[in-house]
Symmetry: C2
DNA sequence: CTGAAAGCGCTTACAG
DNA sequence: CTGAAAGCGCTTACAG
C-alpha cells in the first residue's frame, strides 16, 4: 500500500505538501503540484480514508439502516438517500435489520464504532422503545425515516390521515357500507396511524361503526385467519384496504382462493403497492408511497443536523398520492 | 467521545490493560478486569473501529456492490452475503451501482479508501472490461458474484446451460416448434450464456433452427419492438422464455395487451421470477435463481481469499431448479 | 500480571 | 510558497 511518504519522496517534497495538493487546502507552486500529481499517479496512491477520518474526527460517511431493503418502497427510499448523500458528498453505509431488533442493535453498534457522521434509521417493527437510548447520551445525529416515534429526533414519514380518509370516502361514495381495514402489526407507527385514521374516516363518511372490520395483529397467520373469518360472514365487507404490500399480498391470496372478483365481489385498495404493478389484473388502486422523496428528505435532514446540532428537531410528513385503478371499480383503465 | 485514556484513568490502569481486557488478548487479574469493565460501562465507552483498523491494517469489514438491490434475486443475494458475513464476524458495507458503471467505479473507490478487507461485486451491465484493472495491481481481494467475467478472480454464479436446455426440451416435448428466447442485454455474461445455450438446446431437442427467435438488445424499447414484431408474424413463436425478471415483465405487458392467453396462445417461462409470484394468474414456470446460496458462497470465497491470497482462483457455478407452473401448461396447479 | 512507548497514515497549526 | 512536528485513538512488541 502506497502512503503519502512514498509519494512525497518521489516528488521531492514534504508530506504536508502532498496533503495540501490532495485536498486543495493551500496554494502550491504549479510546477511542484504537477510533480506531486505525477508521483500520485505513478505510485497509484490512494488516500487512506481511515487515517484521514481519525485525524479530522469526521468520516464523511453516514449510515442507513432499513427494516427490509427488498420491499419496493424501501428500495426506493434507499435510492433517495443514495442520491442525496452523493449530493452532500458523503459515502453511504447501508445495513439491513430484516425487521429483527437484535440485528438492528448490532447494525447501530457497528455504524457508531465506524464513527459515521450520522445515522438514518427505519426501525424494525418490534424494536424496543429504549433501542434509541444510545443516541440520547451521545452526539451522533439520528434521523428516523418512515417508521416514526414519539422521541425527540428529526423524523420524516408519510402523511397517513388524509389518504385513509380519502380512500374511505371514495369507497363510501361507490356505495360500500362495510369496509375491512387490514392494518397488520400496529406496533409500527405508520400502520397504527392508518388504523386510527380509519375510525375518523368512517364517521366522517357517515358510515355506521358497526360492520366495519379492523384487523391488527403482528403475526401473519393471525392476520390471514381474521381476513378469512371476515370474508365468511353473511354481512361480509364489500371493500378492503390493505395497509402495506405484504398485507395486500396476504389478502389477495385469500381473495383469489375464494374466487372473489375485483371489484364486483370486493373492492380492493392498498398502501404502497407492488413492483411491476401494471401486470396485475385488475390493476390495483394504490396509495403511492412517496418513497424517493422520503429518502431524499431524510438525508437532507441529517446533513442539516450534522451542520447544526442545536437546532430544533424537524418532523416532516410527505403526502402520498392515490392512484385509482380498476380494483375499486373506478372509471380509470383497469 | 470517551477514549481508552478516560477509561484507564477511571479504572486506575494503563491503556494497555484496557485494550487487553477489551480484546481478551492477555490475561488480566480478575479484580482489575472487573474494574475496567465497570469503567467502560460507566463512561459508555465504545471502541473506535477506525483507530483499531488503522493500527491493525485490517478493518474486519467487506464491501458488496450490486447492480440493482431492488430486484428480488439481488435482494436475496444480499441476504446471503449478510448472513455469511455475520458468521465470519465482519461488517458488511453495501453499495448500489444501479447498473451505472460510473457509480460502480465510485463505489469501488470509496470502499478501497475505507480499506475494506475485500469486495464482492456484481458488475453493472455496461461496465468496461478494464474496470477491474485496479484490483490486478493491488492486494484487496475481489470476488465476482452473479455477473461473471473471464478475468482471473474468484467467482460464483449460476449454471445456465443445463436449465436452458431443460426448458427447451420441456417446451419441445409439449409440441412447441418455435420458441422465442428473450435475452436482453447480452453484455451481461449470464444473459449471453443463456443465449448461447439456447442454440445447442434447440439442436439437441431436434427443433429446426428456422422459426426460433432470439432477442438480444441492450435498450428496453428495442427489445419491446422485437418482441412485438415476432408475435405479429404469421408463423409466430408459440412459446417464450424470458431471461430475467425485467424481460419477463416487458414480455408479459405485450402478451396482456394482445390478449394472448397463457399457455393456450403462448407458453411462457422465465428466469428469476417475481416477488409475490404466487399472485400471478396463471402462475409462471420459473428457473429459480439460487440467490441466497450464491450470496453465501460469495462471502465464503472472499473470507477464504482474505485468509490465503496465494491459492488458485475458484469458479463456482450453482445449479438452479425449475418450477413448472401453469404458464407452460404443465400438470402442476395453475 | 502490568506499563511505557512506538507507530498505523493522515491533517493542521506553527514557523520561516 | 514550504517543511517539521504534534496528535487523532488505538495495538502490540518490549521490558520488568
Amino acid at each position: 500500500m502506497t502512503t503519502m511518504v512514498k509519494v512525497a519522496k518521489l516528488a521531492g517534497v514534504s508530506i504536508s505538501t502532498v496533503s495540501h495538493v490532495l485536498n486543495g487546502t493551500r496554494h502550491v507552486n504549479e510546477e511542484t503540484r504537477q510533480r506531486v500529481l505525477k508521483a500520485i499517479e505513478d505510485t497509484s496512491y490512494r488516500q487512506d480514508a481511515l487515517a484521514r477520518a481519525m485525524r479530522r474526527s469526521k468520516t464523511d460517511s453516514i449510515g442507513l439502516i432499513v427494516s427490509d431493503g427488498g420491499e419496493p418502497s424501501f428500495a426506493e427510499m434507499i435510492r433517495g438517500v443514495e442520491q442525496a448523500a452523493a449530493r452532500h458528498g458523503v459515502t453511504l453505509l447501508l445495513a439491513n435489520s430484516a425487521e429483527d431488533p437484535q440485528r438492528e442493535a448490532r447494525a447501530i453498534q457497528a455504524l457508531l464504532e465506524r464513527r459515521v457522521d450520522g445515522i438514518i434509521l427505519a426501525q424494525a417493527a418490534g424494536s424496543a422503545p429504549d433501542a434509541l437510548a444510545v443516541f440520547a447520551q451521545q452526539e451522533t445525529p439520528l434521523v428516523l425515516m418512515d417508521r416514526l416515534s414519539d422521541l425527540p429526533f428529526d423524523q420524516v414519514g408519510i402523511e397517513n390521515r388524509q389518504p385513509t380518509a380519502e380512500l374511505v370516502a371514495h369507497l363510501s361514495a361507490q356505495g360500500h357500507q362495510r369496509i375491512m381495514l387490514i392494518a397488520g402489526d400496529t406496533r409500527v407507527a405508520t400502520l397504527r396511524e392508518r388504523l386510527e385514521a380509519f375510525d375518523d374516516a368512517v364517521t366522517r363518511a357517515g358510515l355506521p361503526a358497526k360492520g366495519q372490520v379492523k384487523i391488527a395483529a403482528a403475526q401473519a397467520d393471525v392476520v390471514d385467519a381474521q381476513i378469512e373469518e371476515a370474508l365468511d360472514r353473511p354481512d361480509r365487507p364489500t371493500a378492503a384496504i390493505a395497509c402495506s404490500t405484504v398485507l395486500a399480498a396476504a389478502a389477495l391470496r385469500i381473495i383469489q382462493r375464494r374466487r372473489l372478483r375485483m371489484p364486483e365481489d370486493i373492492a380492493f385498495a392498498t398502501f404502497d403497492g407492488f413492483a411491476y404493478a401494471d401486470l396485475f389484473e385488475p390493476r390495483l388502486t394504490t396509495v403511492r408511497h412517496p418513497a424517493f422523496e422520503v429518502g431524499v428528505t431524510a438525508a437532507d435532514l441529517l446533513a442539516q443536523r450534522i451542520e447544526d446540532k442545536t437546532a430544533a428537531h424537524s418532523l416532516v410528513r410527505i403526502a402520498p398520492t392515490i392512484e385509482y385503478r380498476g380494483s375499486t371499480g373506478s372509471a380509470a383503465v383497469s
